[in-house]
């Protein structure tokens, strides 16, 4: 972190749903290019935290900064435009659109092309080539014209991440990318993430510790909405408090 520019900074972020406090005074700074995991038991507030960072939920108190700029009140789509991409815990694709159309939606999001309405998409060859090249990276190019619905679960999880990568983000938020995947498929996802450029900052929520140790170098542990540990993977592994939270289970 030292020396590198701050990519994402949370400053005393709290979230209450009525009388229920989900996040309390969560603060951390993630440097550019850093790969950080957020772990914690179910109900620790991990997904809520993501929804706040991505701008889908308003926070009760605190501030969110992205490359130094205050984005606390910025709507989700503007954050995405600024370079923040996310994936969802439950696959959130466009099921009735083809695989390539899904990718194109991510690719054209920042281009003026999205407002073109008097020329059919079949004219946009270079956009389609770009999408196929991305699909090729996960071996799905041959299935470009099938509906996303027709893909297998593991393939959908790959497309889920591919959409976020297609946004060419500066910060990538991954919400349990391997949730529900067989071990073989989980390693496909891990390989995908490891192949990404070094300057992308990745924040990962994950229960599969194999994936976590494979992808990240730093861990933040959430418990009952609070940060209870924050440090290198090695340091967290040796933390007694964290062992306690995971009911004595060895990390």
């Amino acid at each position: 972190m030292s020396g590198a520019a701050s990519c994402l900074a949370l400053d005393g972020v709290s979230k209450r749903f009525g009388s229920l406090s989900v996040l309390e005074e969560v603060s951390f700074v993630i440097g550019q290019g850093e790969r950080c995991g957020i772990i914690g038991p179910n109900g620790a507030g991990k997904s809520t935290l993501f929804n706040i960072i991505a701008g889908e939920l308003p926070l009760t108190r605190g501030a969110v900064r992205f490359f130094g700029g205050n984005i606390t009140r910025m709507p989700a789509h503007a954050r995405a435009r600024a370079g923040l991409a996310r994936t969802f815990q439950t696959t959130t694709l466009f099921p009735k659109l083809s695989v390539i159309e899904n990718i194109v939606l991510a690719l054209q999001a920042h281009s003026a092309e999205r407002f073109h309405l008097l020329a059919p998409r079949s004219r946009y060859h270079s956009r389609d080539r770009e999408a196929r090249a991305l699909l090729d990276r996960v071996g799905l190019a041959s299935r470009s014209n099938e509906l996303v619905d027709a893909l297998g679960y593991g393939e959908k999880r790959q497309v889920e991440i591919l959409l976020a990568i297609a946004q060419k983000p500066k910060l990538l938020l991954l919400d349990e990318p391997t949730a529900g995947l067989a071990p073989g498929d989980a390693s496909l996802v891990t390989e995908m993430l490891k192949r990404e450029r070094g300057d992308i900052t990745i924040v990962l929520i994950e229960h599969d510790m194999g994936v976590v140790f494979d992808v990240v170098e730093r861990l933040i542990v959430l418990h009952h909405g609070r940060v209870v540990a924050d440090g290198t993977v090695e340091a967290i592994r040796g933390d007694d408090n964290v062992q306690e939270i995971y009911l004595g289970g060895k990390l």
């Binding site: 889908e56 989700a76 503007a78 995405a80 099921p95 999205r114 059919p120 998409r121």
Partner: protein
């Protein structure tokens, strides 16, 4: 032969039939009903852009249609603007401006909330047409609207006017077909499918819904203009909630998200309601049963029946179509 080419050939053949119908002795009554069907098909397609492609079930389409119709009447009777193309433009602009206001109110909400708000908006506009007598003529409406010539062509007779409406239907179908296949159209489909992911990708979902409402309103307003000239009269029933429901029924009957299917929806509703009302006083009940049967047995709309019947005739399984 690819599916797409087969459709193009079918559409071309249909268009030629539509062109020759008035020339081969079809009674004026039916020509007049067909004219009505072209007009309703335009407004049904405009609604399909919202329901089928953007995922917005809008119950205020009749209000936009009616605003287009009233614009013709008011422009003619108050301001003596009667020329064809200026009036068409005025009608379209009036409907788009109305939709721009509707959108600000209705798009604060989505799903059922959006539906309820659009119902309320339609009622407000109907209330204005019904009670603002000095402008709208109230329940009596506005009479004395004359069909202006299109350039050098006199279209005041039913046959001439039939061709005007057919032309606008074809232009609308082509334009809307291009729009839904464009990059912008893909964005609308994305908004329909998964607005949450669209936001995460960086799309301002609200803005695209707003644009879709205004584009849709342009076509609804155009249909309203044609409808005013068709009847040579405008009254509050043209923008009633019943009318909105009727337009939505055409969309459902024809096939949501198909555009061209709306022509079949419009044809069925226009012809059945006219033919049945001549036979029985309980024609609305019969219509209800027809709608029910279609929704039960062809939930994708009448257009899905065509390939299905075709396949059965040839002993094939129907090809799975993509929306």
């Amino acid at each position: 032969m690819t599916l797409q080419r087969r459709w193009l050939i079918a559409a071309g053949a249909g268009f030629i039939v539509a062109l020759v119908l008035p020339r081969v002795g079809v009674p004026t009554f039916y020509i007049s009903l067909l004219t009505q069907a072209w007009i309703y098909a335009i407004v049904a397609m405009s609604l399909d852009l919202l329901v089928g492609f953007t995922g917005l079930v809008n119950f205020s389409q009749a209000a936009l249609f009616g605003v287009g119709a009233y614009a013709v009447a008011i422009a003619a009777t108050r301001y003596h603007v009667v020329d064809f193309f200026p009036v068409v433009c005025i009608g379209i602009i009036a409907a788009v401006v109305t939709a721009a206001i509707f959108g600000l109110v209705a798009l604060r909400s989505e799903g059922v909330g959006f539906i309820i708000i659009t119902i309320a908006l339609n009622e407000i506009v109907w209330g204005l047409a019904y009670q603002w007598v000095s402008v709208s003529g109230g329940d009596n409406g506005i009479t004395g609207i004359v069909r202006p010539p299109v350039g050098p062509f006199d279209v005041s007779a039913n046959t001439g006017y039939y061709y005007v409406c057919l032309a606008f239907f074809v232009i609308s179908l082509i334009l809307l077909s291009i729009i839904v296949r464009s990059p912008f159209g893909l964005v609308l489909k994305g908004v329909r499918e998964t607005p949450r992911r669209m936001r995460a990708l960086g799309y301002n979902v609200w803005l695209y819904r707003y644009f879709a409402m205004m584009i849709s309103a342009g076509f609804a307003g155009l249909a309203g203009v044609l409808f005013a000239w068709y009847n040579q009269f405008v009254g509050p029933t043209s923008l009633s909630l019943d009318q909105s429901t009727q337009i939505l029924i055409m969309v459902i009957l024809g096939g949501i998200g198909t555009l061209y299917g709306q022509l079949f929806g419009a044809l069925v509703v226009v012809f059945l309601s006219n033919e049945l009302s001549a036979v029985t006083q309980r024609w609305e009940m019969v219509l209800g049963v027809v709608y029910f049967v279609v929704v039960m047995y062809a939930p994708g709309g009448l257009v899905v029946l065509v390939p299905r019947l075709w396949a059965r005739l040839r002993g094939l399984r129907p090809a799975v179509e993509r929306t």
